[in-house]
Symmetry: D2
Subunit: 326 residues, 4 copies
């Protein structure tokens, strides 16, 4: 499996199990390589909206597609899915550089391997295979949906697992997955500018979706990315959006990572995301960065994922824009 | 009591009871007319960080000052207080139009009057007296700290109170307070562009702080406001900040209101703030709008208050900027 | 449809979508009249674990069964389902008074009818039909799963719905459902000692399950109920359990209702369930009463449902015990 | 400082800063050795109700008293304080074995020492000094209020602190404190049957309160303890209460520890306290065990503290009863 020319299209959902919009999307199920969704759970350990959505969409589009469901639509963020489709978007564009897409999955990650080099290696190998022939600079987004440790698994392997806290296992899994992307793309590290990892209860392997630019397709869509240095770093996003508009483009979808600055402050000001025992920091970060990106783009149905270990600089994160050329 | 030339200065706080920064602020306690703070509680009924901060700052600056403590520093927002000071900011500005400030309080609002016309009338009368001689168009911010109904009060007056839900009583109190500002300033209504009301357990009257422009002072600070039509409405804020920068000014502080759009959607996209039974909608709204405003200004220690009943259009809210002329 | 001799059996679940234990239960899908479950969501508006469980179990046992999924396994409560089965439990008991079971459903409840007499009447009619020929004193549990108002429905019918708050709509729906049980059984009112209503997003009609005692069956199981006057009222439960043990019986399952005392205090002591803006009162009540009942019975996989409007006296609730005779 | 004959008396509080009941308690401030309270915050890192209460009560009773404020009154638990008083309770009892009380504090615990042997040693030394001359078997409760790590401290000492998570630091601090009690009393370990530790933001040393039985006083109050093996273990509590009643006694106050079973299950049934990312496990555990103990005693204004590391067996906890002889 490798990447092919394709496109992204967004569908609204009325609840996590809602796939009713697919019927009107004009997309053949067999062409869907991934369903990348935001669901309205807490995005943490006991967020079963991801499982509900993954089950509903898996049944709708078929087993050739991976599902990457990211919980948490805090603030203005709006629940939706992005279909990643390998195929013609119906627009008559001449052959040239355009968006290419693809998906794959690793073997199951054993609980004792979660968050460790075995997971990193598995992700790296899968990403390398999927993106064969694509220069790393042309890769703008690698989504990874990865497992977490359940209470049961922790109890069974208490002395061998990387952490005995389920919530912490999500961070460890994201970090190891992103490290796999760093290795596959030869990024300088320790963090990746294009990896976006999300952990969940609903799978035991790592599902991977890659979006890149490549020659030779007829697709109208393009992709580019930038990096926010911290959660207030609007400048690079404003610049990227200006480039798209300058090219006469229309923004199709935005994919971003967000996290609470691990230092406990942003630009010298104390934040309280890491000391709030009522609301997890990933929820805070999605709400804040989601509010900023939705304001800058005018669109709340965007993909903002929390917990950015090895995904962008500490406290910051990558921002990828898929857009349609005129 | 009426408004006088003055200034605003911001102090960071290490926790809700922390007043240690006051000693280095170079402000005489007697000149402080108000301490307007953001504390790190949930901003809802059982947020006692407001009480802790009000008690600590009341003891520090003395009884001539009112305290307006607004709970909730979700996302990137940073706990702080803004001292509102009547007096000279030390800058040698010639006499001219400048920031004027003042504070006052109503009589106690009886539980059965909360959220009703008696509260509105009390606020209107107090605002009118405080701003005597100031044209309504020169008024850019009227902060109101107002009471809520406690479980005890609801139990004692169950058949006479406006609501039997403590959380709902906060909204009713904010709405009645803002209506008082509308009446005092002769705004077209039903909502005020400059009112910012916050309800809390820690007082039984309404505390009021007004900031306006007026002739004749030597102060260097200025004030202006705009209105966000919804939580994504970055445009008016970008414009206002450009005006300040165009005048060579430096932003001193931002005061904003935010709320979850009561329609359940923003720009046609469903949001989940009103159906999240784990995190109240006011928390979501502060996080999202706080994320946007902090990104646009580069400053997270700003005042973003949730629950905007009658304070800006539905789903939107007023944004006031205090700035210092060159 | 009427009630028939049957039995209750409990199955543990590893997550809300887990039906794997059914295969080993030795129960024919066609004999199942209801699946009554506790799932691990928040039990409030955005608890999609109920939808996930209802979908999974509906697919497993077939359309003749109703699913009553109640969210919230706070504290020691353990996620599980109780299969309510019409049929022989395999025990060789002579004919006599024993447990009889049945289920039915009302027509869909229109959003404008939710919480109103139309809902009450629909539930009353369905309960009356289901329990035809059973004296009211022999009825020990009537479970009702009823709809709530979604944000969409509220927006579409804003002036006609009983409340514009989704969370409040759950209470209104439970209250109207329980009033239907009161009417059907001729209870003195306003509350029912045997109704147990739970609202959810996942259905638009009211599903009803009834358990009673009747003559003539060969089943080994029996049923009885009592009422807790408040959340501390262990006495009646201790007495009922002693009766079961005195008869040589073994407790099969417990079904209970719990709520925060609406007065704001229990036995003259202030509680904080109604003023906690981080955790809804229904969650608190389930945790506390669940902790007491689990301690008294030694079993945490019991059905404790929150929000007891018209279901037991204010602050209290009914407790039903299904048990197996020796 | 050592322990002296004394008594415990309970006062209700209307909010965390409320000390108004003290005026009517008939207790001289100088006789108070400790104020042990339950406040209505989340009991976790950002629970500032403890700070508010500690400040208010410290100002009321004076510096000779330590304040032990434990956050979290989930479920039916009711906010209150227990005054621990060294002195005559006004009852005419002959000299004999009775309750003795005392309090002390360690030196400040440096952030890098928190959760480590230095903290354990400091607590052990202080407890040993305070209880000089009392046989370990006569000690029935040692309350320890201990510090936690703040974000600031973690940032300053990132490579040297025991954990970089504020919430985790509370557990580490409680564990080290309890280990100090084990050492001082020569308990077999690893856990103490009488230690009750609570971590908080509001202090930097460990405050210690000890209650024991000793010869020679005229006080009417007595003290005894038992241990719950798990959160459902009602039996030992029922037995202890029966002993008190059998002696004609009246329960004055109950002090208990509670925690989510770290195995993820209770009596073979999966619980969800450790996987709930919306509500911390300590809140769940207090609600459940509080519900059970309040039901068994008929009193919700009892001291149930969450997080029982080294305080009772895993998943269980000690229960101490102070009672008044006839």
């Amino acid at each position: 499996v490798t990447v092919r020319p394709g496109f992204v299209t967004r569908l609204a959902t009325a609840h996590p199990g809602d796939t009713s919009a697919f019927a009107g999307a004009g997309v053949a199920p067999s062409e869907v390589v991934a369903v990348v969704g935001k669901t309205e759970g807490n995005g943490c350990v006991n967020d079963f909206t991801r499982m509900l959505a993954a089950s509903a969409w898996g049944g709708t589009v078929g087993p050739q597609a991976v599902t990457v469901m990211s919980g948490g639509t805090e603030g203005v963020l709006s629940p939706h899915v992005s279909l990643v489709v390998a195929g013609d978007d119906g627009a008559a564009a001449g052959p040239g550089r355009c968006l290419v897409v693809g998906s794959t999955a690793t073997v199951p990650i054993a609980p004792v391997d979660l968050g460790r080099s075995a997971q990193t290696d598995a992700v790296a190998a899968a990403v390398t295979a999927l993106l064969a022939g694509i220069p790393p600079d042309d890769v703008h987004l690698v989504l990874v949906k990865c497992p977490l440790l359940t209470s049961d698994q922790i109890e069974q392997h208490r002395d061998a697992v990387i952490t005995t806290e389920t919530y912490e296992s999500m961070a460890a899994s994201r970090a190891a997955s992103a490290a796999g992307v760093v290795a596959a793309l030869g990024e300088p590290g320790p963090w990746s500018a294009v990896a976006s990892a999300s952990a969940g209860y609903e799978l035991d392997c790592c599902s991977i979706v890659a979006l890149a630019m490549a020659e030779g397709g007829h697709a109208r869509q393009r992709i580019a990315h930038t990096v926010m240095a911290d959660a207030l770093d609007a400048g690079p996003v404003i610049d990227l959006l200006a480039q798209v508009r300058g090219a006469g483009g229309r923004v199709v979808q935005v994919f971003a990572k967000a996290e609470a600055d691990p230092s406990g402050s942003v630009r010298g000001r104390r934040h309280t995301m890491l000391t709030d025992s009522d609301v997890h920091s990933t929820r805070h970060a999605r709400a804040a960065v989601g509010g900023l990106l939705a304001g800058l783009t005018g669109e709340p149905a965007i993909y903002v994922s929390g917990g950015a270990e090895n995904q962008g600089p500490p406290g910051g994160g990558g921002v990828t824009v898929v857009w349609e050329a005129p």
